[in-house]
């Protein structure tokens, strides 16, 4: 809640010599913070932010009380002066008091109702100081009576209203809930169709007040008004909030009522209004005081233990200092050994809920800036880090592999969802989206990366990007699955490049990936150009080319290869630590072998077969080259293998190596009808 405070007004209640700037700093450090100091005309204004729990400080006098307590605690000279007329004798000035009949249908709607009639009113402009202060606070001055209600609201935080008494038909007021279909024309000339349950007042004929929000136009004070009903209440906060929400109509008064009002402050505000009406309009009290207050606000007390206080503060604060701070804020204290019993002032009953709240009061007024700064000691817990810790390393590695990280929104549109081939039914959907652009929680990151490629494809040719984020898969009667996913998209690359990158990632994560053909159709990945990634028998990812119809739908000009890898799943597999193997003492014999085999024969199968036939002499089989060429024959490919022969007792002789090589050749010829290229 923000409030504008004219400094001269504030100084009427806080008597101090310190400068506005010093005061603003002191307030920010210990109380409501001053966000801006502005000059409007001759007036200096503090723009203050008051936290929502501190309704008592949402007024000039409330800020004055805070200021005074803060200055006192900092040993700066200051004293608090209360506004005049808070406790007037409200007996009628006339022998024949006027009567007003009040009916309150439901006491929960209005915990306190006060009103008084004044007459002999001369409507005229308010004195200059009132007009100036109102306009400095952003409120237009109207006349001396209407201005009183606004002035008191700003000054004390208690909204009030003024009726032309002679416009209240039948001198009767009934306070009740609105019924369906009712409407009222408020002061500003607007007609509001009321929802059920708004608090309204009706005279003997019609609605005259939309309580707590704005008065009715039909009963307003005008230039010809002679008799005025000064009117101060507390209303049910929830009822006010519901109406302001339903009507989308929030006034200064409503924003105060909907946060709750100090019931003990209602009558002093009315008294102050009478005081100002007498001063500025020549008013005389023309009725008995009406004060309907069935359930008196209970006062709260808490015990505050000094040891506990000092544990929070980390210092030993003198007990007298704590007591002085609490007193300056209006708390009453009774001292026992090592603890005090604290009675909360009426205006703080809403926000003070326990002894810890009292500790906060003492700590902030004493000044957080006056407390020392000490890192916690004590043992540090020994806990396993989550999968996120490795993600930092992984992201850095990807960066050094030439990829650029993007971060895209996890909330996507229905259109984007459709493109990723998911049904809306099984996707996490928001019940209150901000716009259609952000309606579903994405089950895959790839469409967002494709979007990023589209945005950048005319800026750069080769776009190599990745993102790490949680994705969301809906689950029945439970929270969605929220696994951490790494997605990569590369333009200008082929399957083997993205597969190689995936293998790099396996190395970085110290895991062993297996690649297998897709067994099921995937909505994004081209069936014949992709592979699933497995660890043991669990699928942990997918890698390959994005389907061309999807590339077209996105209007991407090049092909895109991609990988989507589930880091949460991978984290559950133990990482592989390689054991030391002694470095061979004798150099190996290296033999290259080129063969022609069927195009569809997986290289993995070829290597498996070679390894199964060869003796222990064969240490390694590497693939040097794979190519297809019409000269090789239809549906054939050429594979060049490098065979590495090695033993521990010495370098193998060429005879030994040749023997094994021949065995391999004859086995490949038999098994795969392989032909050796000479």
């Amino acid at each position: 809640m923000n409030i504008s405070v004219p400094v001269s007004w504030l100084r009427e209640y806080v008597k101090t010599d310190i400068t506005a700037k010093t005061l603003a700093n002191a307030l920010s450090l210990s109380g409501p913070s001053v966000e801006k100091i502005e000059k409007r005309g001759n007036e200096l204004i503090f723009e203050l932010e008051v936290t929502t729990n501190r309704t008592d400080a949402y007024s000039i006098f409330g800020i004055a009380r805070e200021s005074n307590a803060i200055l006192n605690a900092q040993s700066l000279k200051s004293s608090l002066v209360k506004p005049g007329g808070l406790n007037l004798n409200l007996d009628p000035d006339k022998s024949k008091p006027l009567l007003l009949d009040i009916v309150i249908k439901d006491k929960n709607l209005c915990p306190r109702f006060t009103a008084i009639i004044v007459d002999n009113i001369k409507i005229q402009p308010s004195p200059a100081y009132i007009r100036n202060r109102l306009s400095a606070s952003g409120i237009r001055a109207i006349n001396n009576i209407v201005d009183i209600s606004n002035y008191i609201m700003l000054e004390l935080g208690q909204p009030m209203h003024t009726f032309d008494f002679d416009k209240i038909k039948g001198a009767k007021m009934t306070l009740r809930k609105s019924q369906k279909g009712e409407s009222i024309k408020t002061l500003d000339g607007n007609i509001h169709k009321l929802p059920e349950g708004s608090i309204v007042i009706e005279d003997s004929e019609r609605l005259i007040d939309l309580c707590g929000i704005m008065g009715g136009l039909n009963s307003t004070v005008s230039r010809r008004t002679k008799r005025v009903l000064l009117f101060t209440q507390a209303y049910n906060a929830q009822a006010i909030r519901k109406t302001t929400q339903a009507l989308a109509f929030r006034t200064e008064a409503a924003s105060r009522f909907e946060k709750g009002i100090d019931l003990e402050g209602v009558l002093p505000a009315l008294s102050r209004a009478v005081y100002l009406a007498k001063q500025t309009a020549g008013a005389q009290i023309a009725s008995e005081l009406i004060d309907i207050y069935p359930d008196k606000q209970k006062s709260k007390t808490f015990r505050l233990n000094f040891n506990k206080l000092n544990n929070y503060l980390g210092i030993n604060l003198e007990q007298s200092k704590s007591v002085q701070i609490l007193k300056s804020l209006g708390f009453q204290t009774k001292q026992n050994p090592n603890q005090i019993v604290v009675t909360v002032p009426s205006w703080r009953t809403q926000d003070i809920e326990s002894d810890v709240d009292l500790i906060e009061e003492i700590a902030r007024i004493y000044g957080y800036h006056n407390l020392p700064s000490k890192l916690p000691t004590g043992e540090t817990p020994n806990l396993q880090e989550s999968e996120l810790k490795n993600v930092i390393t992984l992201k850095n590695a990807l960066k050094y592999l030439g990829l650029t990280e993007v971060i895209t929104y996890s909330i996507i549109s229905k259109k984007s969802l459709r493109i990723s081939g998911r049904s809306a039914k099984n996707t996490v959907e928001l019940s209150n989206p901000l716009t259609e652009e952000w309606q579903y929680m994405r089950p895959t990151i790839i469409p967002s990366l494709l979007d990023t490629i589209v945005k950048n494809q005319y800026i750069k040719d080769d776009i190599n990007i990745f993102e790490v984020a949680k994705t969301y898969l809906s689950k029945k009667a439970d929270l969605p699955t929220q696994d951490l996913i790494l997605s990569i998209c590369l333009t200008d690359s082929d399957f083997y490049q993205i597969k190689g990158l995936s293998e790099n990632i396996a190395n970085i994560l110290h895991r062993q990936f297996k690649f297998e053909k897709l067994t099921r159709n995937h909505p994004l990945f081209d069936h014949s150009q992709s592979a699933v990634i497995k660890i043991d028998d669990e699928q942990v990812g997918i890698v390959g080319s994005i389907k061309s119809n999807i590339i077209d739908a996105f209007r991407i000009k090049s092909e895109v290869v991609a990988a989507e890898i589930n880091l949460t799943k991978i984290d559950k597999f133990p990482s592989i630590l390689n054991n030391f193997k002694p470095i061979a003492k004798y150099p190996p014999v290296v033999e290259d072998l080129s063969i022609i085999i069927a195009k569809v024969l997986p290289i993995e199968d070829l290597i498996q077969q070679i390894k199964s036939t060869a003796s222990t002499l064969l240490k390694e089989v590497n693939i040097l080259d794979v190519f297809e060429n019409p000269n090789l024959g239809e549906n054939k490919k050429s594979v060049t293998l490098r065979l590495i022969f090695q033993k521990t007792s010495g370098t193998p002789t060429s005879d030994e190596a040749n023997e094994v090589k021949e065995k391999i050749i004859s086995h490949l010829e038999k098994t795969f009808r392989a032909k050796v290229r000479k």
């Binding site: 001053v34 810890v356 700590a363 890192l375 916690p376 901000l434 945005k455």
Partner: protein
Amino acid sequence: MEKRIRKILNEAAKEFESAGDESEIDQLYVKYFGKKSPLNKLTKKISTLDPALKPKAGQNINKAKSTLEKLFDRAKRNVKTKKASATKYIDVTAPGKKITIGHLHLVSQAIEEIVTIFSKLGYSLQSYPEIDWDWYAFESLNMPKDHPARDDWETFFVKAPPNPKLGNQVLTPHTSNGQVREMENVKKPPIRMINIARCYRRQIDISHTPMFHQFEGLLIDKNISIPNLKGTFDYFTTNFFGKNRVTRLRPHHFRFTEPSFEVDVTCDVCGGKSCRICKSGWLELGGAGMIHPKVLEAGKIDPKKYSGFAFGWGIERTISMKTKIPDIRLLYQNDIRFLEQFS
């Protein structure tokens, strides 16, 4: 004999030194290592020596041979570098040949820095749900049913039937849902946890995006005080922003901490003068406070035995404080020209 060896070595050193090209070096090789080399001649003479002197002489000759080898290697190297520097002109100001390196997103860079700083203080990085139950996001954090944050114009809700005990599913508007989850997980303090996640709120403007990253720290132990919180922030700010940036604690109000603070850092966009991004020269870094006893109770930790503090803030905010990015929305437009500005 020793005299002869020394003489041979001295001569060889001179000759190798003055050798101008590889062919000269090769000739010298033949001269000193060939069959008719002076050392070989000496070797043949060993047999004529007194048997008592033979072993010593052998050793000396071997030593001399290895010295000669070193001389030869050095001479050969010298000739090669001489040749290279003579034929290849190097422009030291021309660009080198680089391997392409990509770029990390600013958010990740900030996360890495933050994690590194808090790791040193013994905090561990945990991962908690980004879609969570109302209980963890609000109710257990002492936020009453009518709290504005629980209104559906501030927080995103998921279309799903509520859990009878834990309530609705929400997109977490803060990382504080990790607090009670961490307490349940660890059970017995000490706790030092950081939780970094994507968070969601229904707002978008110059300093807000509907999705943002929040960072949350939680420390619970015996006798934890406000000065401990201050110390932690001072440590963080000096390490993250640098020694010239100052922090302050301001009183604030959060339901799940008491006392509550707003932590400010001097604004770097305007240098503390006041601008459209900051408030009177101060930027809100984030919220903090001493954990409310009710929150500890919700996490089944005895508030009479333990106390602690929690803090959290938007990663994006810290980035705009550090890099002078004028509009936070730039971070998620993913323009490659923006992304490539940051390594």
